[in-house]
């Protein structure tokens, strides 16, 4: 197949597949390769045979939890913010044609040894045990300030400059208790730790707005999730890329990377022959010598249950956040809960994926509070992943490398990386255009 392409993409993780799709739409000739025989790379969803092979190689899966194919377990647990950038990209590229999404039923937060639902309606707010009567009024005042804030109307700023004043200063003015700050900063703004308190309030303001507008979109919670697991996302974008001419080769290891005298990328050799292109986009696993560890290590525990999570009103899906302060940690613990309602496990089973950034040399003990919340488990598979980032921006040698998926509970940093890589490659910002309709595409393809 010795051929020339505009871009070679290595790895079929979500970041790579979104870029592959966008570049194909723009008319670039894309060759997309993965060494594995399934789509998704680090962001795949695996069935139990694949999962046990990866995390418990000595214990083969023997159908004890139902049919293997009923299971789609995410390697990286995340949800989509209903009003977030990934949703925006999905709508603009019409990848929604290939997938179905459902809401996540509820968002819960841990406080003083118990979990409580993050209110999503006025009614829930009034009865919420999270705050006392007076604190609820203070919280209401704070949220009114956020909701009414308008950049070009200084009277709505209440004397604050979001680019100078810190979040702590704003909390102080509204007299919020520590538990309420935890709630706002961790359950709404979704900060993983308390570093944000001393930073300018702008970022936290944006995050709270994202949360509030996401809840406003469908109710219940700010999150949506694709049926059959997150692994559908890279597959959907890969299909988009293929429809616009992208060539896909799974199960194809890279035998050799070709570079010129200055180390610039030229192409790859595989079992199918030599493919040439001036640039390569890749996930960090293909070029370990071109990435460094960020020092962050994430532990993820995939827990198989046969019951819903206690105290969630039998929710078929949920996010549970344990703010770091509540358990004397530096980083929050997240629990993503899913069930057969989202077609990721067999009927009667539940899946709880616990994750956090490791702080000690006994990481499994750090998850104790989370295990207490989820109750009895049928089996637990654990993995530790390191977070990598590229050493260089790729402009010198045309190797454009993505970042590992971080421990955040959503995809906002993933889409930031997509936009950043796009800009590094093309020199301009990514502007999303509405994809052509099916009829217009049929016409383009000569089916008129």
């Amino acid at each position: 197949m010795d051929e020339e392409y505009d871009v070679i993409v290595l790895g079929t993780g979500l970041t790579e597949c979104i870029l592959s799709g966008i570049l194909s739409i723009e008319g670039k000739k894309v060759l997309h390769i993965d060494r594995q025989d399934y789509y998704g790379g680090e962001s795949a969803s695996l069935n139990l045979t694949q999962l046990y092979k990866k995390f418990k190689p000595k214990k083969e899966y023997e159908d004890q939890f139902g049919k293997d194919r009923d299971w789609c377990v995410d390697l990286i647990p995340k949800f989509l913010m209903s009003n977030g950038e990934l949703t925006n990209i999905l709508v603009h590229t019409d990848v929604t044609r290939y997938m179905e999404f459902k809401q996540i039923s509820g968002s819960f937060v841990y406080r003083s040894g118990k979990i409580a639902k993050v209110p999503s309606t006025q009614m829930e707010a009034i009865s919420s045990p999270l705050m006392g009567f007076f604190e609820k009024r203070r919280m209401k005042n704070f949220l009114e300030f956020i909701a009414n804030y308008k950049e070009d109307e200084p009277s709505t700023h209440h004397g604050f400059n979001l680019d100078k004043n810190t979040m702590d200063e704003i909390y102080y003015k509204y007299g919020l208790e520590r538990g309420t700050k935890d709630f706002i900063g961790h359950a709404m703004a979704l900060h993983p730790n308390d570093d944000y308190l001393t930073q300018p309030a702008r970022d936290t303001y944006d995050r709270i707005m994202l949360y509030v507008t996401s809840v406003a979109r469908y109710g219940k919670s700010p999150y949506i999730y694709p049926l059959y697991g997150l692994g559908e996302l890279p597959q959907g974008f890969a299909r988009l890329s293929a429809i616009y001419g992208g060539t896909f080769m799974l199960d194809t290891p890279i035998d050799e990377v070709l570079t010129d005298d200055e180390g610039k990328f030229q192409g790859v050799k595989t079992k199918e022959g030599t493919a040439k292109a001036p640039i390569v986009i890749s996930d960090p696993t293909y070029f370990p010598e071109k990435v460094r560890s960020t020092g962050q290590k994430i532990i993820r525990a995939m827990c198989i249950l046969d019951h819903p999570i206690p105290n969630t009103n039998d929710a078929d899906s949920a996010q549970i956040i344990i703010p770091q302060n509540q358990v004397n940690r530096k980083n929050d613990i997240y629990i993503a809960v899913l069930s057969s309602a989202h077609n990721v496990c067999s009927k009667g089973h539940y899946l709880a994926i616990i994750s956090t950034i490791i702080e000690t040399d006994k990481p499994h003990l750090e998850l104790e509070a989370a295990f207490k919340i989820i109750g009895q488990t049928k089996d637990v598979l654990m993995g530790i992943a390191e977070v990598y980032e590229p050493l260089e921006d790729g402009k010198k040698d045309n190797f454009f490398i993505s970042r590992s998926y971080d421990p955040s509970s959503h995809f906002e940093t993933t889409t930031d990386d997509v936009k950043d890589i796009y800009k590094r490659i093309t020199g301009h910002d990514l502007v999303l255009k509405q994809r052509k309709t099916a009829d217009e595409e049929a016409e383009l393809a000569g089916l008129d």
Partner: protein, 226 residues
């Protein structure tokens, strides 16, 4: 036109195309959907997601679907959501998403290339592995207009299809021979009763609880409830 004001029931199914590159998968769909043929069609780019409906009459159906005088026409519109491979078959790189929830599969080979039937067998195996167990698989020999160059006899292919319990058709995307009939016979074998029993269940057969992402928020109400 006496039934002009009666509503027609609809049912929708996902149909996937499979087979080697260049056997004419997209051409068969083009003939079915647009009733046209393009001699120099390039590998599939764009338009890998088409829908086409077939009207089945009461006579086609043989038995009535529901009480006769419930205000519905006694026929049925079967709408196919047709997925083309978009070239992802070339290096055996179709995603599991492709097979998911497909109720019908059309596996195409070229009757003038015996090797393409061997490759079709690979795709039938893939379907048995990846698709739902009750998927209706149809083996289709294309290029019936090139009979004189035939390398695969109709008998041997039909025998093979019968052994595996597949429907079998020979068609010509170029002349259009048998193409409409192919899709009509598939339509007749679709499990439409479950969909029809829910009334005029038109549109996507989606679970009602799924969300429509393209729907914008109806208000700009940013009042948090807390």
């Amino acid at each position: 036109m006496s039934q002009a004001q009666k509503q027609v029931r609809q049912a929708q199914f996902k149909l996937v195309l499979l087979g080697e590159s260049a056997v004419g998968k997209s051409s068969i769909v083009q003939r079915f959907v647009k009733n046209s043929f393009d001699e120099f069609r390039e590998s599939t780019i764009g338009a890998a997601f088409l829908t086409q409906s077939i009207k089945l009459t009461g006579d086609d159906l043989g038995e009535s679907l529901a009480p006769a005088d419930d205000g519905f026409d006694d026929g049925l519109i079967v709408k196919f959501e047709i997925w083309d491979t978009a070239g992802q078959e070339r290096y055996r790189s179709l995603a599991s998403m492709y097979y998911r929830n497909a109720q019908a599969a059309v596996v195409v080979y070229d009757i003038t290339q015996s090797e393409s039937l061997e490759k079709a067998k690979y795709w039938i195996k893939e379907l048995q592995k990846q698709a739902s167990s009750n998927i209706l698989i149809t083996l289709v020999g294309n290029k019936l207009d090139l009979k004189e160059e035939r390398q695969v006899s109709e008998e041997s292919a039909r025998l093979f299809a019968n052994e595996l319990g597949l429907l079998y058709f020979e068609v010509s995307a170029k002349s259009g021979e048998n193409v409409q009939d192919l899709f009509k016979q598939i339509a007749l074998k679709m499990p439409f009763k479950a969909q029809v029993s829910k009334g005029n269940g038109a549109g996507k057969n989606k679970q009602s609880v799924s969300v429509d992402l393209s729907q914008r928020p109806t208000t700009n109400d940013q009042d948090c409830a807390c």
